[in-house]
């Protein structure tokens, strides 16, 4: 399309995306014009009408968003869209536009026009196959890093927006880590004068004797234990 300025599309990724979406919209608009009976169009004319279609879409979106925001909502609903449509269609006029006073939006002629349009017009499917696009709904999708340690669990993390960095995987404790943790606790026991207990109330270590470690409860389970006590403050 714009062969005279290739460097703009390459250096600026958002420009290339808008050019791409503009090209797609141009195909759709050309199809609509063709279905109406036109066999061709001038090059400039097609660009103008595509630009107008894009502006129309954006105006509906802006008006609907504004009407939702002024009513204290962040998401637009059907009434907001009808307000936007009535606003745009009021230039041509529609039955009921001159009504003064509160009237039901859902009964407006703007929607009724659309209903009859859908009923009586055949479908025109889009001509070109579209590439599959990533869904940016904030559903916690994040690509896995090369070592595979950082990832986002899709089922559990749906509330997290996708632009946040991933939480690290909670590491399954090895034998080494388990042993070190126990040794640390024993060190506190032997060196300090206080007693300690696991936060969950499981006193898993037998006092007296640093060689016998008895683990009550289930062994090899993922747990995070806090040692509360007067010890020598030795870090684990």
């Amino acid at each position: 399309m714009r062969n005279s300025r290739p460097e703009t599309a390459e250096t600026n990724p958002s420009a290339s995306e808008s050019v791409f979406s503009y090209g797609l919209l141009r195909v759709a608009v050309a199809q609509i014009c063709q279905s109406m009976g036109f066999s061709g169009a001038q090059h400039m004319v097609l660009e103008v009408i595509t630009d107008i279609a894009a502006r129309y879409l954006k105006t509906i979106a802006k008006t609907a968003t504004t009407s939702a925001n002024t009513r204290g909502r962040t998401q637009s609903n059907l009434s907001d869209v009808i307000v936007a449509l009535e606003d745009l269609i009021s230039v041509q006029g529609f039955p009921g536009a001159s009504r003064v006073g509160p009237h039901s939006l859902h009964a407006s002629a703007a929607i009724k026009d659309l209903m009859s349009f859908v009923k009586y017009t055949d479908e025109i499917p889009f001509a070109q196959p579209l590439p599959p696009r990533e869904n940016f709904n904030g559903q916690g999708k994040l690509r896995e890093q090369s070592d595979g340690r950082w990832h986002r669990d899709k089922e559990n993390m749906r509330h997290v927006p996708s632009w946040l960095p991933a939480l690290p995987l909670v590491a399954v404790p090895d034998e080494e880590k388990e042993r070190r943790w126990e040794e640390g606790r024993l060190g506190c026991l032997n060196g300090g004068a206080g007693r300690e207990e696991d936060e969950r109330g499981q006193s898993a270590v037998k006092r007296g004797g640093n060689k016998e470690i008895e683990l009550l409860g289930k062994g090899k389970r993922l747990r995070v234990g806090f040692i509360v006590g007067i010890g020598n403050g030795r870090a684990i």
Binding site: Q42, I52, I60, N77, L85, F117, E123
Partner: protein
């Protein structure tokens, strides 16, 4: 009695409208608009429109399609009116009917009714005095 019946009627009317709207939104899922859903979502997201409902996206796409179709219909009528005013013999007219080309003239006339002013330069000249000299130069 009268007031009761008059109170019931607007409620029934509203209920009918809501039912018609619900049916319409459901039927929208069967009707595929020409503008693909992803493209519409791209433009809506660019303008700050947030809605998880797919039916509203389709509604906006259908509304845009209807607008463009109306503009194209009006331009077609202008084009046909222009052709029928040029009176020629029947063979030429049939040939022209098969090829209707959307021109800038027809489009600007059609868009004027919708509140869009499109003005198009008919030609661009090299200099301000180009084409003005009608007298022959070499005498």
């Amino acid at each position: 009695m009268n007031s009761q019946s008059s109170q019931q009627q607007p409620n029934d009317g509203r209920h009918d409208d809501d039912a018609a709207l619900t049916d319409f939104l459901a039927s929208l899922m069967d009707y595929t608009p020409t503008i693909p859903d992803e493209l519409v979502e791209h433009y809506l997201a660019k303008s700050g429109f947030q809605c998880p409902d797919v039916r509203l996206t389709r509604l906006v796409a259908v509304a845009t399609q209807k607008f463009i179709a109306d503009v194209a219909t009006d331009a077609l009528q202008h084009c046909k009116a222009r052709q029928s005013s040029i009176v020629k013999d029947k063979r030429d007219k049939q040939q022209k009917d098969k090829r209707l080309v959307l021109t800038m003239e027809d489009l600007s006339k059609a868009l004027r009714e919708y509140g869009v002013n499109v003005k198009h330069q008919e030609y661009f000249a090299d200099s301000p005095s180009a084409g003005l000299d009608s007298a022959p130069r070499d005498e």
